[in-house]
């Protein structure tokens, strides 16, 4: 009997809260001198990363190690999948090690879901294409709860390249599920048509940014210029950069990282007291420990999910 975490929609509000309550107790472990608990001793966690990733892969690795699991990290960036070796073959090979969990990051939507069909292990989606990144959404909700207690009634703006962002999709759903309202804002070329079907509002200017309690900024990638989504980084920064002039007193700033300083966020904003960016990174390990624990040691929150 295993469950998976493939989409943030696998969790209802109670399920999210259960994982985050668990994460809070693991955050306490992180404050101890010896940061390990024996929960997954003797079990194996495979990290399968088909895309460059620093934060997500290192925090999953650390999370598994702090739970005393044996960890195998397989990175194949620019990988064999693209050369035609099938994802299925790789997963079946790794499944021969009888892992308890496979954490997968792949540049293709639905990859985690496919992997779940090919293995007996619990599968955790660490980012599939531009589709979803559910553990990022969980750690962002965790970070906000740590700071504010609750997301109920919050107005959260997600600013930037929503079109290419799996974080945006998982976070819109998670924030809404936790009681917040979400507005996405960015250049019209980078807002997906019919994004409002996810239950968010959309704006193309920051004029009403003052209404936001939380400003969640997305990474602006340089290749978007080449693809003519925006004419220049300069124009993008003029219109959409979050800086201290645009942030008002009391607003919180978040970013999934890595940040392009001076593009989507000014350096001063990143480092200001309203920034939760450092907290987000810190939350990553505790939340991923909680996800692994809930899936593998067994609490009904995630196990209900087939």
């Amino acid at each position: 009997m295993t469950g998976h975490l493939l989409s943030i929609e696998d969790l209802d509000r109670a399920g999210i809260e259960r994982v985050l309550d668990r994460a809070r107790s693991f955050a306490e472990v992180a404050g101890r001198e010896i940061k390990k608990v024996p929960a997954l001793k003797g079990r194996t966690v495979v990290n399968l990363f088909y895309e460059a990733s620093t934060r997500t892969s290192s925090s999953f690795e650390l999370a598994a190690k702090r739970l005393s699991a044996d960890v195998v990290s397989v990175r194949s960036v620019g990988s064999s999948v693209e050369k035609g070796e099938s994802l299925k073959d790789t997963v079946q090979t790794l499944s021969a090690y009888d892992p308890a969990a496979i954490v997968i990051r792949a540049p293709f939507a639905g990859a985690a879901q496919q992997v779940a069909g090919w293995t007996d292990a619990c599968v955790i989606n660490a980012g599939d294409g531009k589709h979803e990144h559910p553990t990022q959404a969980l750690l962002d909700v965790f970070t906000l709860r740590q700071r504010l207690g609750s997301l109920d009634g919050l107005e959260i703006w997600i600013v930037g390249d929503v079109l290419h962002s799996r974080v945006a999709r998982s976070n819109i759903l998670a924030f809404r599920r936790m009681g917040a309202s979400v507005t996405v804002c960015g250049p019209p070329t980078l807002i997906p048509r019919q994004i409002e079907a996810l239950g968010c509002a959309q704006r193309t200017t920051l004029d009403r940014l003052g209404e936001a309690d939380v400003v969640y900024v997305l990474r602006m990638q340089h290749e978007r210029m080449r693809e003519a989504y925006v004419p220049s980084l300069r124009e993008y920064a003029q219109r959409y950069q979050i800086n201290l002039e645009r942030l008002r007193e009391g607003q919180l700033l978040m970013h999934p990282g890595p940040v392009n300083r001076g593009v989507e966020c000014s350096g001063a904003a990143i480092d200001c007291a309203a920034s939760l960016i450092g907290e987000q990174v810190k939350s990553g390990v505790a939340v991923r420990m909680a996800v692994l624990y809930e899936l593998l040691v067994g609490a009904p929150a995630l196990q209900a999910v087939a």
Partner: protein, 450 residues
């Protein structure tokens, strides 16, 4: 010397009496139980139900309660031959067609190599003459290698039997190139069929652009990618007074464009697939690559517009765009998997179940649209009439089946209807006067012959 348009392997002419089936052929004004006697591969008699005595040597099929239609014509299939026989061969593709009730097929030229020269076409036709269980004709490419750069030898290809021309799988991107092909059509003849897609709009899209693609974070193909090209190319066709056929229409805006340009005098026609008539992009939520095709499944509003256009005749015919792919190819992650679904074995049942039963389309209109495809390329319409070559299909509308439960006759299994329960079981297909398919238990020979 005129070449025969369709090729199939030689087969015994059918000698069958089909008794008391409900015969429905709207073009021939037939809609009643009749006995149908096929002798020497021709429809010899249409008699009062139960009154026809079987001549010696004829098999008898008791078909009370079943329906007999003119067999279907599919103007758009991919038989993957030459070059990709691991997906489909002429033998397996035509067997799939026979099991689906088809008596005419037109195969697309985007093979490996492309059907862009006479030698390739001749070899292909020779193979069809050996292997095809259903008469099959071929389109040739408009441009060499489908690259959109140089015209094929269209006149020579026509002389060698090409029914028409298409770069299907790709659009003719350059308006100037298309114009030259349409000018040259005045010499070569043959319908020019177009896969309409503006690659600068479809870009790296892999599904319909809409709420579902927004949710999935998968790059979308906007409907204007198709409709703007139809507008452009219909305008060129009218200017050159050329004959153009638009393949696999998927969007409401495309239907409007077709309708507009036809009333403006352009000689244009259109086809639509069973999957675009019955499914929408909602199916993609599970990222199952069997629902990935080009053009993509679109919105419910698009689907409704396609049904309306089929009903009114703005779209003249149904085409399956049967596009087999091997299991390992469709098992790739969704964004990498190839586009296409098989369709020959499910076309009638899917449309009967999803359109006729809910009252969206009448059965006579469905039969007209399923039989019209080949006629757009100058082929004979299948008709249930005395003296005609027998092209008929016997269907049990009262029985249903689960798609794929007994496997497929196609070499590939990438069917978007896989696992669905559909009503309407094909029991017998007679194509060009010979039995092409008989369901298990349907005896088509007499005891003496066995």
């Amino acid at each position: 010397m005129a070449t025969e348009p369709l090729l199939s392997r030689s087969a015994m002419p059918a000698e069958i009496l089909i008794r008391q089936a409900h015969v429905l052929d709207p073009r021939c004004g037939l809609d009643a139980p009749l006995d149908v006697l096929i002798r020497g591969g021709l429809i010899a008699e249409l008699g009062a139900p139960g009154a026809t005595r079987p001549p010696s040597g004829a098999a008898v099929i008791e078909a009370a309660g079943k329906h007999l239609f003119p067999a279907f014509s599919d103007p758009h299939v991919h038989l993957r031959t030459p070059g990709q026989e691991y997906k489909e061969t002429i033998a397996t593709g035509t067997d799939a067609a026979a099991a689906g009730g088809f008596c005419q097929l037109i195969a697309m030229p985007n093979t490996v190599p492309t059907v862009d020269q006479v030698s390739v076409l001749e070899a292909l036709r020779a193979r069809a003459r050996q292997q095809a269980s259903v008469p099959t004709g071929f389109l040739a490419a408009i441009t060499v290698g489908l690259r959109g750069e140089e015209l094929t030898e269209m006149a020579a290809l026509r002389d060698a039997g090409a029914l028409g021309f298409t770069d299907d799988g790709r659009p003719v991107v350059g308006a100037g190139m298309l114009r030259k092909a349409l000018q040259y059509q005045r010499l070569a003849g043959g319908v020019v069929a177009l896969h309409e897609e503006d690659p600068s709009l479809s870009a790296d899209g892999v599904m319909h652009e809409g709420a579902v693609s927004a949710r999935l974070g998968v790059a979308g193909i906007p409907s204007i990618s198709e409709s703007t090209m139809i507008d452009r190319d219909a305008a060129i066709a009218r200017y050159e007074d050329a004959r153009v056929h638009f393949q696999h229409l998927s969007a409401a805006a495309s239907v409007q464009a077709l309708s507009f340009w036809r009333s403006a005098g352009a000689r244009v026609s259109g086809e639509v697939t069973p999957h675009h008539l019955t499914l929408t992009d909602e199916e993609l939520l599970g990222l199952d690559a069997n629902f990935k095709m080009n053009p993509p499944l679109r919105s419910e509003a698009d689907r409704k517009a396609l049904i309306d256009a089929l009903r009114s005749g703005v779209i003249e015919c149904i085409a399956t765009d049967h596009a087999p792919h091997a299991h390992h190819e469709k098992e790739m992650p969704f964004e990498q998997a190839p586009m296409g679904t098989t369709g020959l074995e499910t076309a009638f049942a899917a449309l009967y179940t999803e359109l006729v039963r809910p009252g969206l389309l009448t059965l006579p209109v469905l039969i007209e649209r399923l039989t019209a495809g080949g006629s757009l390329y100058g082929l004979n319409l299948p008709r249930v009439a005395v003296g005609e070559q027998a092209n008929v299909v016997l269907v049990d509308l009262a029985r249903d089946w689960r798609v794929g439960e007994r496997g497929y006759r196609s070499r590939s299994e990438n069917c978007c209807f896989h696992g669905r329960r559909l009503a309407g079981v094909v029991e017998l297909t007679v194509a060009a006067g010979s039995v092409a398919f008989a369901a298990p238990g349907v005896r088509t020979t007499t005891l003496e012959e066995v």
